[in-house]
Amino acid sequence: MKPLLIAVYAATLLMAGCSRKSNQPAPLQSTATGTAIVESSGGKQIGYAGMLLDQPVVVQVNDASGNGVAGTAVYFSGPAGVSFAPAAALTDSSGQVTSTVELGQQAGRYKIVASTRDKSGKAIDLSLDEIALGYQQTVGAQLNTQYCVRCHDPESTPQRVSNMDNLSVKPHPFTEGDTLNKMSDADLVAIISHGGPALNKSPQMPPWGYTLSKSDIAALVSYIRAVADPPYQAGGLVYAQK
């Protein structure tokens, strides 16, 4: 009987050690509860494997009438390797909690969860997707910034004015999975290498096959696949909590 007990105890210890509890800090004392948790900002970011996301994740706990609730405990959790700072906090006066996120070591899509409890103690979860680029997609991301983004992204920044408005045929941002997911890899390679006419599209999409290498173009394709929203089915691994 005794050995059995010891074995059970050891196994429990082992399991406790293995399952990453580090994301789950001591419970906080909520002074109020909300009925919903919503994203303020920071979801669907394009980050890099193992690295901090550029922007923190900001979530808000609301009451039934949609106003922020202060003093509510919010817990962040994610698949193994994702870390949050802080992993738990009380909402501020506007009902918000801000956490910086470091993604796991592998490229892919990470599902992270912000969670709070309602009056009855029931958990209310908000799930957010974040993207971690690997080496090849990072190359693609850099090439995109250098060669493509000014036509393909409608947003302007102080350093970079979007050229999209100046085109008579509007290209798609690469995140537009609805359109890009329907194109095969071969089609993507064709239009990027030989320009719009390769797929009977506008020559306003120039050919890049004599400027970029084959591996550059493969990198662009893998980037386009990685950032698609909705996700491309074969776009890589999805990491979620077990």
Partner: protein, 683 residues
């Protein structure tokens, strides 16, 4: 108890037959230990799991054929690689296993190198020869280099690649930060190829500082540089009020007056007749290409080549501003700032404008009594102790040698040579990041000052430092991709002197020397027409509508413009072709028309360029409406045929045109002569 033991002995060794039997069993068991250990070893367990995994997959047969049991090893003696990682990581080369969730068996993500040529530990670190998970991945007593966390993985690339690479943005950023924050003023970094990392933050000389600013400002600045300008790269030394008082006393006391001395400000520049004149002259001179300033809406606008100017009126004395605007070489012969040819009225206007940019709060609470000799003496001691002269020229203090530890091999530093403190992870990356984040946490008496970096910048700098390994120093030179080093090119003669005075090289690259903010001018003489060049130097027009950085208007005299134009037109010529080899007179109207068709339909150039301001809108590339006045036809032709051949790295796509197409397009572009310096850019 004793009886029991005796009975046991009797049972197994009571007579010779029993003894022999028992001994044989024991021997057998002992003999079996080694194979059993082997049989139950971790890696066998992984190989079994792997086989189990692949047998359930559609391409099981192929995968099984690739599978080789037993210990696997990548052995590359000249790189000191003996990596057995592939004993367990069995799917590294299997493209069909890209979707496997276990890292152990997944295909290695796409990288430009072959596993068999570089091994695993070259980039990932860890103990290559180990055959257990623990020993291979983690730090053990005999082996201090655990696996490198993924966020620093670009450090692996940086051991061989000293150049900027597309795929390593963090390594590039970290190296850039090390250069622009001047880390190597104090720390020596010698790279594997023997070159030294040199800072480019250009800290000012303090030899005449009293001409420029007040002791109060110096005091407030050393207490917190970033309170004056968020972009300031000078770190915080966390000096006490008394120490800052004494250092400011010394800094002012050592200052000597400029020769010849500054002139008093003549008129009352602070209350100009036309208050808008300063703003518009600041704008016309494109000061914002290099300097940032907060605008009325509180937005920071401008470049970061020179210091931020939001509070310049609080910092600089009027007579210094006047002198500096008139000719910065007087105060600082090594400055990156060009010598504009402002006339006296313009100097007064700009001086008044800059004087009005004040941040009185910055010095509002600084009240200093006149310094005593003891304070000055103590201040000097502090300046020596803190290594101020590592960065700044200071009268009476020599630049210290090796003021801080050399970092050339910091990426291989043995942990037992490092002192860890509470809150810093016990690993090399933890130590390096901790030092960059908060150096004083390692001991209050340590001298390294506090920089203001974001967590992301700290990771980038740590990546760049971790690339400085023993391997980076000792590997065969053939493995190394050198960084692009600046050449020593200096143009000769009058033109050379003029180009130095105007600081052309702050922005333009010529023959491998200079900045990358503006186009490379190495072959400018082949590209453009002399007429256009002189016009442009007189009155730079906006060539690229979408760029914020613009060529400044220097107010050059005609003779100066001629000197520059003559020099550039004769010297900056490509050897590849003759600029006069394609006379425009060869082109006929049919060709021009064919070119127009190609421009608007086949190649859709109007996506990025403007040929006609009425209809075209594209503004990624330069406007082409005045090509016929600006360029030489041969340059246009060869550019169209292969843009990267004339300017490596340009983003203009090579359209793979036929000779006929390129000629027709050249004919069309050369027929465009509208606009010019003025008028064209009305939009």
């Amino acid at each position: 108890m004793k009886n029991n033991l005796h009975a046991l002995w009797q049972l197994f060794f009571g007579d010779s037959a029993r003894a022999f039997g028992s001994a044989s069993v024991i021997l057998l068991v002992l003999l079996a230990v080694a194979p059993a250990k082997n049989h139950f070893s971790q890696w066998r367990h992984y190989q079994k799991q792997y086989l189990h995994l692949i047998r359930g997959r559609a391409d099981a047969v192929t995968l099984e054929r690739h599978f080789q049991g037993g210990i696997q090893q990548i052995w590359i003696p000249e790189q000191q690689v003996t990596d057995r990682c592939t004993t367990c990581h069995l799917g590294m080369k299997e493209a069909s296993l890209a979707d496997v969730s276990s890292v152990a068996f997944r295909e290695h993500p796409v990288i430009p190198h072959k596993l068999t040529e570089f091994g695993c530990t070259t980039c990932h670190r860890g103990q290559g020869a180990a055959t257990t998970v623990e020993e291979a991945h983690s730090a053990t007593e005999q082996w201090e280099q655990p696996l490198l966390p993924a966020k620093y993985i670009e450090a692996g690339c940086g051991q061989c690649h000293l150049e900027n690479q597309t795929g390593t943005p963090f390594l590039n950023q970290g190296r850039q930060l090390i250069v622009s924050y001047g880390c190597t003023h104090c720390h020596t970094i010698k790279q594997g190829d023997g070159t030294y990392v040199t800072p480019d933050d250009d800290p000012p000389s303090l030899k005449h500082i009293a001409d420029k600013t007040t002791r109060e400002w110096v005091y407030a600045w050393i207490k917190d540089p970033q309170a004056y300008a968020g972009t300031a790269t000078m770190p915080n030394y966390h000096l006490s009020d008394d120490d800052a008082r004494d250092v400011s006393a010394f800094i002012l006391a050592q200052s000597t007056p400029l020769e010849p001395p500054l002139q008093p400000v003549k008129a009352d520049t602070k209350t100009p007749a036309d208050p808008a004149a300063g703003t518009s002259l600041y704008g016309q001179s494109f000061c914002a290409s290099c300097h940032a300033m907060q605008n009325a809406a509180g937005m920071m606008v401008g470049g970061n080549v020179g210091p931020e100017l939001t509070g310049i009126g609080t910092k600089a004395k009027p007579e210094w501003l006047q002198d500096w605007v008139a000719n910065p070489n007087h105060y600082d012969p090594g400055t990156m700032m060009p010598h504009y040819r402002f006339d006296a009225a313009q100097v007064a206007t700009l001086t008044g404008f800059l004087e009005s940019k004040v941040e009185p709060d910055f010095v509002a609470n600084v009240h200093l009594d006149a310094a005593t000799p003891e304070q000055v003496e103590h201040g000097k001691r502090l300046a020596v102790e803190n290594g101020c002269a590592s960065c700044h020229e200071i009268n009476g203090i020599k630049k210290p040698e090796n003021f801080a530890p050399e970092l050339s091999r910091i990426g291989s530093k043995p942990l037992n040579q490092l002192i860890f403190v509470e809150g810093v992870e016990h690993s090399l990356p933890g130590y390096v990041a901790g030092k960059v984040r908060n150096p004083r946490a390692f001991g209050p008496s340590l001298k390294m000052p506090q920089f203001k970096f974001t967590p992301q910048q700290i990771d980038a700098i740590t990546t760049a430092l971790l690339a400085l390994t023993d391997r980076a120093q000792s590997q065969p030179p053939t493995m190394r991709i050198a960084s692009v080093q600046q050449s020593k090119y200096q143009p000769a003669g009058n033109a050379g002197q003029l180009m130095g005075d105007l600081r052309c090289f702050t922005c333009h690259m010529i023959n491998g020397h200079g900045g990358d903010m503006a186009p490379d001018l190495t072959w400018e003489g082949t590209a453009v027409q002399r007429e256009w060049l002189t016009q442009f130097l007189k009155n730079p027009e906006t060539l690229r509508p979408a760029l914020i950085r613009r060529m400044p208007k220097f107010n050059l005299r005609d003779a100066e413009i001629n000197t520059l134009a003559d020099y550039m037109m004769t010297v900056y010529q490509t050897p590849e072709f003759d600029r006069d080899s394609l006379p425009v007179s060869q082109f006929n109207p049919a060709q021009v028309e064919q070119g127009r068709q190609l421009f608007y339909s086949k190649f859709a150039c109007q996506s990025c360029h403007i040929a006609d301001y009425k209809n075209d809108k594209g503004y990624i590339g330069p406007a082409l409406a005045a090509t016929g006045k600006r360029f030489n036809a041969a340059w246009v032709y060869y550019w169209l045929k292969d843009p990267q051949a004339l300017r490596p790295g340009t983003i203009e796509p090579n359209q793979h045109m036929t000779d006929d197409e390129a000629r027709a397009l050249t004919a069309f572009l050369m027929s465009l002569k509208s606009g010019g310096a003025q008028g064209a850019m009305k939009k």
